[in-house]
Structure formats: structure tokens, C-alpha cells
């Protein structure tokens, strides 16, 4: 495509790309810059570019921040694990068109998953609050984890299924002829061949569970150490003007995400477009 673009147009594109880069980089940079200012400094001149960087703010918030990260890690890891363990077999089952009856099951299953995936979360939180309370699951991590799983499971299955569909049915047929059971086919063909998809879905679920806050702020009692999202929500409402604290917390609590991002961004780029559209 490159060859067919004229010189001036090319120049314009280069400029536009830089504008785009700035639109996304400046806010990020501003978070980091502000987190390195002291409280009085931020109050005095919130937009100063020249200042003496200090780690004071980080010293103040690191205690709360690390505790929250620990809680979030528990939640996000548990949710990711369960979603994967449950979603991989489901994606396998929904990709095997073995009989007309089963194809109908697949069609219905997919429709249900799509609808569940579309239900807005600020709305599921209302009945879930009551349902979890009824079952004694309100106010503990188990209830929150279960709610998160239900929230992300449809997404996980839908994202994995295109990867499962890409496995050629002839592989399964060959295995069947050799006498492999369905479990064996699943374990020896599907799981190894899905590794790319599993990795992508793992990152996406972890990222989403890490950022989830609507359930977190409603299903956990006040005394409990909040997860990252809960802490940020609290900071946002109670300490409205402590920008440096808020920005330092934002940086701190995004660090684990940065790790996931560095590990997975290439796959995310391609995997997302595949899973989301197909």
C-alpha cells in the first residue's frame, strides 16, 4: 500500500501519527509526572513542568497500594484460572460439529453466550447483590470471584472458540480411528493446539478482572482490604484533591498490568481482532 501514497500525503500521515501518539502518550506521561510531585507542589502549581521529583508520594501510598495489589492478585488469578479451566473444554465442545443435534446445541449455546456477554454490568450488579446475599456469599472474596467468573466466562468462551474452530476436524477423526476417547482427543490435540488462544484469553481475562470495580465496590464489606479497583474508587470519591496520591496509586496498581502487557501485547493485537469479530 505504501508505494501508492504520494509524497505530501505521506508527510501528512506522519504528522497525524505523531498527533495520535501524543493524544495517548501525554495523559500517561502526565500521570507519572504528577505522581513524582509532592502534595504542596501539586496544590501550588499542578501543571508545572519544572520541579524536583520526589518519591514521597509513593512512600505514602505504597502500604495501601501493595495490600490492594495482593487482594487483586488473588482475585484476578483465581478468576483467570477458573475461567480457563471451564472455558477451554466449552470452546472445544462448541467447535465440534459432530451431528445435526449437536449443531443445534452449539447454535443455542452461542446465542445464549452472546446475550449474556451483552448484559450491561451496572445492571447485573443489582440482582446479583440480592442473590449473593441470599446465598450468604455477600461480603467475601468467594462471592466476588464467582460473580467475576460469571461476568467473564461468556467472553472467554467466545474468544477461545475461533481458535478451537481453526483445528482441523481431520485431526480428531484420525485420533478417533486410532481409538482415542473424547477426553484423550481434548487433552492431546485441543489443549496443545490452543496454546496461543489460551495465552491470549488468559491475558484478556486477567486484565479485565484486574480492572473490574462495579462488583468489587459493592460485594466486599468496608473493613476488608479492597482490591486495586476498590482502592482507586475510594480515592476518587474521598480524597478528591490529592492528585499526586491518586496518580501514584494509579501507577503502582498498573505495574502488574504492565508486566502482562509486555508479555502479551503482540498476541493481544492479533488475537483481539480475531476473537472480537469472529
Amino acid at each position: 500500500m505504501n508505494r501508492f501514497v504520494s509524497g505530501p500525503t505521506k508527510g501528512l500521515f506522519a504528522v497525524l501519527r505523531v498527533v495520535l501518539a501524543l493524544a495517548y502518550l501525554v495523559p500517561l506521561a502526565w500521570v507519572v509526572v504528577t505522581s513524582l510531585k509532592s502534595g504542596p507542589e501539586v496544590l501550588r502549581s499542578p501543571n508545572a513542568l519544572l520541579f524536583t521529583p520526589t518519591l514521597d508520594t509513593y512512600r505514602d501510598v505504597v502500604g495501601d497500594g501493595l495490600e490492594a495489589i495482593a487482594t487483586s492478585l488473588q482475585i484476578a488469578v483465581l478468576v483467570t484460572l477458573v475461567v480457563l479451566v471451564v472455558a477451554v473444554p466449552a470452546a472445544f465442545a462448541l467447535a465440534r460439529r459432530i451431528s445435526p443435534v449437536w449443531e443445534r446445541v452449539i447454535a443455542v449455546g452461542l446465542a445464549v453466550l452472546l446475550v449474556l456477554q451483552m448484559v450491561p454490568q451496572p445492571m447485573t450488579v443489582i440482582p446479583l447483590f440480592s442473590v449473593l446475599a441470599q446465598w450468604g456469599l455477600l461480603g467475601n472474596l468467594a462471592g466476588l470471584v464467582l460473580a467475576d467468573i460469571a461476568l467473564l466466562l461468556p467472553f472467554g468462551v467466545m474468544l477461545l472458540r475461533p481458535f478451537a474452530l481453526a483445528i482441523s476436524p481431520s485431526l480428531y477423526e484420525a485420533a478417533e480411528i486410532d481409538g482415542a476417547s473424547t477426553v484423550q482427543s481434548f487433552r492431546l490435540i485441543t489443549v496443545p493446539m490452543l496454546s496461543n488462544g489460551i495465552f491470549t484469553v488468559m491475558s484478556v481475562i486477567f486484565i479485565t478482572a484486574w480492572g473490574e470495580f462495579v462488583y468489587a465496590i459493592n460485594f466486599l464489606p468496608l473493613g476488608v482490604v479492597p482490591p486495586v479497583s476498590g482502592l482507586l474508587a475510594q480515592q476518587n470519591t474521598t480524597y478528591a484533591a490529592n492528585w499526586n496520591d491518586l496518580m501514584a496509586l494509579a501507577v503502582l496498581t498498573s505495574l502488574p498490568l504492565l508486566v502482562v502487557f509486555v508479555l502479551s501485547q503482540r498476541r493481544l493485537r492479533s488475537g483481539l481482532s480475531l476473537g472480537a469479530v469472529k
Binding site: 505523531v18 445492571m123 443489582i126 447483590f129 470495580f213 494509579a250 469479530v277
Partner: protein, 309 residues
Amino acid sequence: MTTLGGRTLPAATRTPRRRPGRVRRRPPVVFLLPTAVLLVVFGAYPLLVLVQMSFSDVGPATIIGPWDFVGLDNYADVLGGAEVWRSLLRTVAVAAVLLLSNLVLGFVVASLLSFEGRVTSLVLSVMVFIWALPPLVSGSTWRFLLDDTGLVNAVLGLVGVGPVPWLSEPRLALWSVTAVIAWGALPFSALILRGGLLAVDPQVVEAAAIDGAGYWRTQVQVVLPLLRPTLWILGILTVLYAFKSFDYFYVLTQGGPGTATNTLPVQSYYAAFTDFDMSTGATVAVVAMAVVVALAVPYVRSLRREGDA
């Protein structure tokens, strides 16, 4: 069971139990069961409870139930009031802006990013990172940037404008939040459209170029029609997103000032969890759900047409 060495398939060494071609396939029900159970219990059942709540009198003291059945009273209250219609209108406005930004801007950005290069790969990385960032983090950032003393107003101040009360002026707040939502949603749509662009056969584009069509004319007249299925799905996802979007509202305005930024999800949430009027919250939610389901039908159909199901 025979031992299976490594990842090789079993029984090349073993006599087949069944004759080839007459393999009886059992449907993999067991594989689907855990997902089905979890989603029925924690996904579908709560939705039934939501509908039940919208027909009942649920207050802060009776969250667990049993609830008094009140028929259509909640619906009469909600639909009879002006607020839900205003919220619906706001939700539609947000959806319209997001459609423009996700599809038009998204296509332009995707085109810009379909050239290889150092800046491209930097922009892609930053955009994927923004997508991955918790909305609370990017939302807090924008609350700071849009503050009366924030960076945006400081820059405007340099040219003698402002300070503009982006989030506290009732007529402006909805558009400010929508702009932030659009900023947050653009990476996803640009990535998807870029995936579609890269999948377009280069020969088609070359043929158009040889015929003398300029870059943007080729993009609009040749490439864009090829992306129609992707654009269609992205469009529906975008509208659905407007009916879901809550995080940025929560961080930036909490529905205020007054009710100036109440969309349907925002109104429903705050009715339930700030006013503790679960019935009203549930009723607004069901109204919004009706719209979502109406949109879900063409979405599911278009996915089928793609040959996916």
C-alpha cells in the same frame, strides 16, 4: 489405558477398537456442563431475579426478599417520569458520538496505522496499553486533566481561553465524558479495523491505484466496502457499549451535576446503590435490557451470516 508417549497420538501401535468409518461419536456434553452450570446459576438466574425485582417492591430492608408483588407499578412510575426518557436520549446521544468516533475516526486511525514503521508500532503499543488499563485509572487521569486547574485548561489559558468547567457545567459534562469514552474506546475499534485492513487482498488495492485512484479514494471506494461485515459488527458492539458504559461516568461525574450525565446504566446503578431504590434501579435496567436484546438479534444474525455458527 495404554501409556501415551509425549504428545504423539495414541495407538498407532494398537489395534483399533472400532472399525474405521464407523466411529460412534458421543456429544461432548460433559465439556460444556461446567460452563452451563456456572452461567445458569450466576448469569441467567440473576437476570430472572432482575425481572422479578422490577415487578416487586424492593427497598434497602428487603434486599433478600420476600418481595411484595406490585404488578406494573414500577414501570408506571419509571416510564411515567421524565427522567428515564432523558436518560434514554442521553444514551442515544452517547451512542451516536461513539459510532462516529469508532467507525469514522477508527477507520482513519486504522488506515494510518496500516503502514509499518517505528511511530506506528509505538502508537500501537501505547493504544493496546491504554485498552488494557483499568478504566478507573484512565478515568482518574482525565478527571485530573479536565479539572479547572488541570492541564487542558492550563493549555487553553495560554491562548487566553477558559478555564472551561468541563465536568461541572451541566450542558457540557455529558459531551466531556463522551469524549473521554471515545478516547478510551478508539484503540479497540482501530485495532479491529486494522486487522480487517491488513486482511484485504493487496492486489485489489494495487489495481485501484494503477487505475489512478488516490489513496483516500481507494480506501473509501474499494477498501471500505470490503470491510462492511466488520464495520457492521463493530457498529452494533459500539451501540451496545453505550448502553453498558458506566466506569467513566462513575469516575468523572457520578451522573451529575444534578442528573446531567445520567444515561440508562448510570441512572439504574445510582437508583439502586445510592438511593437504595432497588425496584426503580431494576426497572430502568429492564428497560435498557429490552433495547440491548433488540440489538442483539441483528448482531447474532450477522455473526451467523459470517458463517460462524
